[in-house]
Symmetry: C2
Subunit: 249 residues, 2 copies
């Protein structure tokens, strides 16, 4: 029961995603985000690759953000140093939080969290696909949401769609369709000319900050790069060094 | 995807429960409440009666409040007329919301919701036990929470514990222990003398409003009586007709 009481704190961890449903205009928290993923799984589970264990996926999405109770939520495009600090903080958080449980249960959930984080199994890849897809929907509902706020363009979103496709080709196709809808609706800017899926902007994009492409994320950092928040808050997104932000916000 | 977008509205349905974790002092919403139940299930599922299908229980707790998107949340002790209106509104909401899905999926989730609501199977009874237990924990964390706000006494809470025991004797014992802790800590008032587990108060308690005892709820109204909010807001709780409210708020 101490664990059950402790995890309630996740309701106080705010994400970048802004909820735009009627009567709402506030940041999403990680608990309700996790509920959304698990409930999506009930109806989208049929699009998981054969052999996917949906019960394990459900457990993963329910617990995937618990470490944020201690570590907070890091934006996708934080630099390598911040990301390394975050990784260490999340591991320390996992050590503490799962240890509240009886040893066998704590170990089981810790292994699930490690598996989600490592993103090597099809269960984990499908869980991560859901985690990527849901904020896209919220941005669509919000008429642009964090895409507009941070000047994200379609090529950048499509790079993330690659990670959804990696977990489920069908959900990847759905996500690609959502991107097209958003561009057609004028709430997501098309790729700047010359971008061709990889940002060609100069200045302020060194190191991890340059890892806009999902493929590059995967190559350089495995899974930590595909962090659990679709919505960057790196200060560099706000500077004139990023031409998109002025165009679309 | 229309269903997935639609259900996000549950994040805007507020419950009576007040969250008291550090930095939080606000009403809980039904989406994060549902996440809490599903995650509790991961660690408390071993206390389900033999034969319980935990995957079905998980699905039930994830979707059990979706009807509140249209119908809102009704307090446990609403009178019979309000309850009948709520039942009709929830059925209409279920008709609309589950029909957004492809027919086979919609029917499957509708049947799960009907089963949760009817509370006849052990899966549903276990799901309802979780739904009853979680607000008790939040009230403990809040140093009394809605118990104090509405002048609830230990005998009234124990009557609800009967519904938890009905779903799981082990969780019932845990809940009973929580009640004792709360009384010892002075955040839950003991039963008024003469209450003996069933309220003996006169006036304003006619009809459904008298259904304080979980057993009575079950006998008179099946499951609808054991509604999904532990926290009454019936105006009668605020009147002098209820002696407890002045003592403990």
């Amino acid at each position: 029961m101490r664990f059950v009481a402790e995890i309630g704190k996740l309701k106080g961890v705010l994400r970048q995603t802004v909820l735009a449903d009627e009567g709402l205009n506030r940041s999403e928290n990680s608990a309700e985000h996790s509920w959304h993923l698990a409930t999506m799984l009930l109806v989208l589970g049929e699009h998981a690759p054969p052999g996917t264990d949906l019960a394990r996926v459900a457990a993963m999405v329910l617990i995937h953000d618990l470490v944020e109770i201690d570590a907070g939520d890091l934006f996708v495009y934080a630099d390598a140093e911040a990301q390394a600090r975050q990784d260490a903080a999340e591991r320390a958080a996992a050590d503490r939080i799962f240890a509240i449980l009886p040893a066998d249960q704590g170990e089981e959930l810790r292994q699930l969290w490690d598996e989600f984080t490592a993103r090597q199994t099809s269960d984990a890849r499908f869980a991560r696909a859901l985690d990527r897809l849901q904020p896209m929907l919220e941005n669509l509902k919000a008429g642009g949401g964090t895409w507009q706020r941070h000047g994200i363009t379609a090529d950048q979103v499509l790079a993330k769609v690659a990670l959804i496709e990696d977990g489920s080709p069908q959900l990847g196709a759905v996500a690609r369709d959502l991107v097209n809808q958003a561009v057609e609706a004028g709430i997501l800017q098309p790729a700047p000319s010359g971008a061709a899926g990889v940002p060609s902007r100069a200045g302020g994009w060194a190191g991890r900050g340059a890892g806009i492409s999902g493929e590059e994320d995967q190559l350089h950092r495995g899974d930590q790069a595909d962090h659990d928040n679709d919505d960057p808050q790196d200060q560099r997104w706000q500077t004139p060094a990023h031409p998109g932000s002025d165009e679309s916000t």
